[in-house]
């Protein structure tokens, strides 16, 4: 008949019932779903990857173009050497940007299509996409070169993916 013991228990029971303050289930709105779906679109993804590849190619081309020495180094003045190097950098960076943009576009498009069709997130997607990209890049050299490019680029992309996944 202790009133404190009898009085404390019913006070604790409503406290326990109050604790789990569960919010009602909030399903995403149509705008939110559309906003998330943009990144699921294969065309958008591959274009963005192509642009990023182009940027990367631009930087790499600038770097390697700057390291290139002119042929007739002794017979040119410093100003001529500078102009030659600048032109070389521009040319190399533009062609390198095109190559990398093409590579990024093809790789991303292939991976997106394969992953959507398989409905699985695997390394098989990366292998197939790498093979398609390598084959497309070295298709001008004939079927043997295309096979070699396919295998090489597939192996390269698997290595890069494993490396990125380890720290991601």
């Amino acid at each position: 008949m202790d009133t404190s013991a009898g009085g404390s228990e019913p006070r604790e029971a409503p406290k326990e019932a109050e604790k789990p303050n569960i919010e009602p289930l909030r399903l995403p709105t149509v705008e939110e779903m559309r906003g998330q779906d943009i990144w699921n679109n294969c065309a958008v993804r591959s274009v963005v990857s192509g642009i990023m590849g182009g940027g990367l190619g631009l930087f790499m081309g600038l770097l390697f173009g700057a390291l290139d020495n002119p042929l007739m180094q002794e017979q040119m003045t410093a100003r001529q050497q500078f102009i030659y190097t600048a032109k070389q950098m521009g040319r190399r960076s533009w062609s390198s940007a095109k190559t990398f943009a093409f590579m990024g576009l093809i790789f991303s498009a292939a991976e997106c299509v394969v992953e959507k069709a398989r409905a699985k997130h695997d390394t098989t997607n990366t292998v197939v996409a790498g093979c398609v990209t390598g084959g497309a890049l070295s298709a001008k050299g004939g079927p043997k070169a295309a096979c070699a490019g396919c295998a090489g680029f597939a192996a390269f992309s698997v290595v890069i993916e494993k490396f990125l996944d380890r720290h991601g």
């Binding site: 699921n40 398989r118 409905a119």
Partner: protein, 84 residues
């Protein structure tokens, strides 16, 4: 007036009971659908917090098929009872 109020109350209770059962059925359907598609489609290693594209298309297909199966079985059970 008194005769009209009686059945209306009972009708209200019936309608409310049916609506409650329907709500329970729908909630159960949602929970079951979510559990089944989650278990089937999503890799348990949880490498990242966003759904990737493979999981997204898997969930789309899972929900679509589950919904079609539910509708089909509902029709089969509802239209005529086949003698077992």
């Amino acid at each position: 007036m008194a005769a009209k109020n009686g059945p209306t109350d009972i009708e209200k209770e019936q309608v409310f009971g049916m609506a409650e059962k329907e709500m329970e059925y729908r909630v159960d359907l949602f929970n079951r659908l979510t559990k089944i598609c989650f278990d089937k489609c999503i890799d348990k290693r949880y490498k990242e917090s966003e759904l990737n594209m493979g999981e997204n298309s898997c969930i789309d297909r899972c929900v679509s098929k589950y919904w079609q199966v539910t509708n089909l079985i509902g029709q089969l059970l509802g239209s005529n009872r086949p003698p077992l």
